[in-house]
């Protein structure tokens, strides 16, 4: 009944559930697609201009799409009161949280992998800076969205109209991460400035909030 064992089986269970129901990923993909198309309609930018705004557009699209997935993760646990089955068990709270965060990380990453080519085509993107830096930016940025997203989705379970509550709680706190992702991506695309600082900021954000989440999640889970 080790920590990792529970994390692993919870993660596998979540992926299996998502694979069978496809609640989150379908809604997320469609939503992100809509955002891409609508943005593309309303701006119709040339290559130079799109390079400057693409960083913002991409991450805003991912952020909104991620909220769909984040709301799903806990909604799934409320059906048939399964979350209580976890809560009555002797398993500690953190594996549940970590598994959920990893699951969301995987779902949002899949979304990003599928949507990025579309962005590149629609906005005629070509990075002028070191393109490989986009990989750590994507990984750290996605984790930043997902770790607090999973946490605040758990908090908003205990509120009225929880689906609206999640973005209200999540977006203000995510501001530094958002600035980091957007500016790092823009820096790489335009090649004007180094993205180093932003990557370091994202890393700091991830470390600080992963620690905070693991310290405090038990309180959130126990607050019925």
């Amino acid at each position: 009944m080790s920590f990792l064992e529970i994390t692993r089986s919870t993660l596998i269970k979540d992926i299996r559930l998502e694979w069978r129901s496809k609640d989150a990923i379908n809604a997320m993909l469609f939503f992100a697609l809509l955002v891409v198309v609508i943005f593309s309609f309303s701006f119709d930018p040339d290559a130079e201009e799109s390079r400057r705004i693409a960083g913002g557009l991409i991450w805003v699209a991912f952020l909104f799409a991620a909220v769909v997935a984040l709301n799903q993760t806990w909604a799934r646990e409320l059906r048939n009161q399964v979350l209580d089955a976890y809560r009555v068990s002797p398993a500690p709270a953190n594996p549940l949280f970590l598994a959920k965060a990893l699951g969301n990380f995987i779902f949002v990453s899949i979304l990003e992998l599928l949507m990025t080519p579309l962005f590149v085509i629609f906005y005629k993107l070509r990075a002028l800076g070191p393109a490989w830096e986009l990989v750590p930016i994507a990984l750290l940025g996605t984790w930043a969205l997902v770790i607090n997203g999973t946490f605040f989705a758990a908090i908003s379970l205990r509120t009225r109209s929880r689906e609206i509550m999640l973005p209200l709680l999540l977006f203000p706190i995510s501001l530094p991460a958002l600035l980091g992702m957007v500016n790092a991506t823009t820096a790489v695309l335009t090649g004007d400035a180094p993205a180093r600082f932003w990557i370091a900021l994202l890393l700091a954000y991830d470390v600080v909030f992963t620690t905070a989440c693991l310290f405090l999640f038990e309180l959130v889970l126990e607050a019925e």
């Binding site: 509120t159 607050a223 019925e224």
Partner: protein, 227 residues
């Protein structure tokens, strides 16, 4: 208690009047910006007061998580609420200052942006307190407050760096401030801190009263069905 409150009220009133006089009349006129620069005294004093209140909220929230004492919970709540009021003042006076000086209402100046970010965080905190259905709403709110507090330094770094890359208008102030202006500013800061304290006391009493009423109502419903 009652006596202390009256004394504080009188001190606050005197300080506020004196601060107003000092800011509008006694303080020297700034050379480049002219009289508009006098907004500075209210703007900055409110900002400092708001930051102080948010710091109190952070400390009280941690204390609540550690000790689970009702007083710290109330302190966290009221400091966030009064803090948001002062923060609103900052956000309203900021554009009123920016417009005549820079010709624009809003600029993503680091300090203004950070204040805005703080305002968002603490409004979401108040929303959570309002809409929570949990019997442990106070715990959830305290957790959010801790997150908010941790977020501030990161926010600061991010905004600093973000604006650092673009030429941004710099607010007159900081190190180059005239000694007389400093003195006027400090009087106003003192006045606003006293005002905040006063508001907090009033709000505290209100909250205590409200909880008493809720408790009595709950007790009554306990009794009722017993018959």
């Amino acid at each position: 208690m009652k006596r202390g409150f009256t004394i504080l009220a009188v001190v606050t009133a005197v300080l506020l009047c004196f601060g107003l006089y000092a800011a509008l009349i006694a303080a020297p006129t700034e050379q480049t910006m002219g009289n508009v620069q006098r907004i500075f005294y209210y703007h900055v004093s409110s900002a400092w007061t708001a930051f102080l209140l948010f710091t109190i909220n952070f400390v009280a929230s941690i204390a609540y998580l550690l000790r689970r004492n009702t007083t710290t919970d109330i302190v966290a709540l009221i400091s966030a609420e009064v803090g948001v009021v002062f923060c609103t003042v900052v956000l309203v006076t900021g554009p009123l200052w920016a417009r005549p000086v820079w010709g624009i209402w809003w600029t993503w100046d680091p300090r203004l942006t950070l204040t805005f970010a703080l305002w968002l965080i603490y409004v979401s905190y108040l929303l959570l307190r309002r809409f929570s259905t949990s019997s442990q709403a106070a715990v959830l709110a305290a957790v959010l407050a801790v997150f908010g507090g941790l977020d501030v330094p990161l926010d600061y770094l991010a905004i600093r760096w973000w604006r650092g890359q673009h030429p941004a208008p710099v607010i007159g102030g900081g190190g180059s401030l005239d000694a007389h202006m400093w003195y006027v500013l400090l009087i106003n800061v003192a006045a606003f801190v006293c005002l905040a304290w006063l508001l907090c006391i009033v709000r505290y009493r209100l909250e205590v009263l409200k909880r008493e009423v809720e408790e009595t109502q709950a007790l009554e419903s306990l009794m009722e069905a017993g018959r």
